[in-house]
Symmetry: C2
Subunit: 353 residues, 2 copies
């Protein structure tokens, strides 16, 4: 049994998407149970439409809903203790649920998660990790939005947490890890990226294989299982890839629709185009993981539909099922036993300007 605590009010369409998604997920994973948090007038009438889901769910009424445009500080002020987002996180904190899931305001979710669950021992800042479809399968890319200007130590933490996530989700024993960098020789990246690379190389960790720097085009190529970067560049890379996929999709539609031959070709190749659409379907990779907290927190895209939300539930399910938190603790433990590494970090950081 895996217990998922859900902020039923999160996302552009709130409970209608959330309940539809949870119901789809339940068909795939009958061992799921749910704790739903939200406004009773918005949630309960809808829940009656999903008897299967209702049978394995508890519902808790919450007076406050965090809005998509609330600032994190606002959200904390008005929503701490009593919002549906907070209560879902709290269920994880109390051990009543294995996973907290929200499609709500990302900044608010990050702030509340940190406040409610606290970061794991040895981790300063959380990271938001995305599953990125690649030519080889999938890779973990982090940080795509939580900690901008991460320093060398934080990048190393991200490498370990991303490695643990890859072990939990991608069925690899010793995932390959690369630090995202730029190829221009003169300056070969940022000081903190260079330092993190040097330390990861020397640490020679049991649970991940550090392979060096990778560039932006290595992400889609699937060169490594885990791509590590700070959140500003990571978020821009993620959004740029999404934009490029949309752009090419639009080119393709235009080109196929413009001429009769194109339309005939499209008719014959419908199956191929369907396959392509599935490969590029952003719903299939929905569900980012907030790593580094004392609990599993999943962020769904706010604009997704039931199918996409079900995928976010599935990510939470796999994380809980495969012991994400234990894997992260294990990796951090290995790393801290390799005490010299942290010393190196301190020395190099002191030496930096």
């Amino acid at each position: 049994m895996v217990k998922i605590a859900i902020d039923a009010m999160g996302g552009d369409n709130g409970p209608s998407t959330v309940l539809a998604g949870a119901d789809i997920a339940l068909v795939r994973r009958p061992e799921l149970t749910f704790q739903l948090f939200g406004d009773e007038q918005a949630v309960l009438p809808l829940l009656d439409n999903y008897p299967r889901l209702k049978a394995v769910s508890t519902f808790t009424h919450c007076e406050v809903t965090v809005q998509m445009d609330d600032k994190p500080s606002q959200a904390l002020r008005k929503g701490r203790w009593k919002s549906s987002m907070w209560r879902a996180l709290e269920a994880v904190k109390k051990g009543e649920a294995d996973v907290a899931l929200s499609a709500g305001n990302t900044g608010a979710l990050m702030a509340m998660s940190k406040f409610c669950l606290r970061t794991m021992a040895g981790i300063e800042r959380p990271a938001l990790a995305a599953l990125w479809p690649t030519m080889r399968g999938e890779s973990v890319v982090l940080d795509v939005g939580a900690t901008i200007n991460a320093d060398a130590q934080q990048l190393i933490d991200f490498a370990m947490m991303g490695g643990a996530m890859a072990r939990a989700l991608l069925d690899v024993e010793r995932p390959t890890v690369g630090l995202l960098n730029i190829g221009v020789e003169e300056m070969k990246g940022l000081e903190e990226v260079r330092v993190a690379g040097q330390i990861l190389k020397e640490a020679n960790l049991d649970h991940l294989e550090y392979v060096g720097f990778v560039e932006g085009d290595d992400i889609g190529r699937g060169t490594v299982d885990v791509v590590v970067t700070e959140a500003f560049a990571g978020n821009i890379a993620l959004k740029t890839a999404e934009g490029t996929a949309r752009q090419i999709g639009s080119y393709l539609r235009d080109a196929m629709g413009r001429t009769l031959l194109g339309r005939i070709g499209y008719f014959f190749a419908q199956g191929a185009f369907k396959e392509l659409r599935q490969k590029l379907d952003p719903r299939a990779s929905n569900g980012a993981v907030l790593l580094g907290l004392n609990g599993i927190v999943i962020k769904s895209h706010g604009g997704t539909d039931g199918e996409g939300f079900a995928n976010a539930v599935e990510v939470g399910y796999s994380m809980a099922r495969n012991g994400l938190l234990a894997k992260i603790s294990q990796d951090l433990g290995d790393y801290h036993r390799a005490g010299f590494v942290r010393e190196v970090a301190e020395i190099v950081n002191e030496g930096a300007p």
Copy 2:
């Protein structure tokens, strides 16, 4: 007449690509003349194959060739005064050529350009600007590789230089400009991006329209004519987009080739696929511009072919023809006359941590 000084040794294939490309460019723009710099044994025998090109070119023998893997400091040490790269830049410095063009080592080209041509008055650091194909046409994106960790003042300089480039190349009178940022509410980007945005908004410049922050997916959408960012995120965005395009191309080939119906569809829609290939052809957007120097310097991809190199020549041609340098000076002048702006910058920068 536009005079192009070319480092004939630059690029993965050196003179064979360079000469083929210059010859193609010459057919399109018969008013071009060339100054070729390189090793006489490598260049002169090949040049005989291009009588049309030879007729409008001078050739200067250079003893030293900067290698693709030379560090910039190495390149400067061995190649200053006497390498083909340096001599091409020097031709611009002396006013003998309008544009310097190299497909060689990017870091070396940036270092030599700064050393040889110096930055324009009021510009601290150069920026590398790319032409990015979008759903609306093309946008200028900078910095994609020259100045990492640009501060607020440098981002403002980039906005003005990118705006001038858009005016010179994209036929817009008052280009729209956006600062690349991330959408996560909690931290809404870096301090320097916020400060630059505030100042650009208050400055209300004649020659560009600052529209605010844009995100990674706005680049391909063509939301603005000019996207401004520091070089780490910019280079990663560029490479990520290239990688995503390759990835989708590979998905598409696989999907169309796997079934008979897919292959039949492909047969009928060949024209549409050709159109798509042309839209995605990286050669069509080859030729990045090193902005902020006392002279026009174009960087071609090292791995391109003659067609791609010809496009880089074309970019140089347009820049010279449309008075890029005068446009940048004009914009900087306007900006400096708006003296209060720089004061604001100083105040805000002092206030920053």
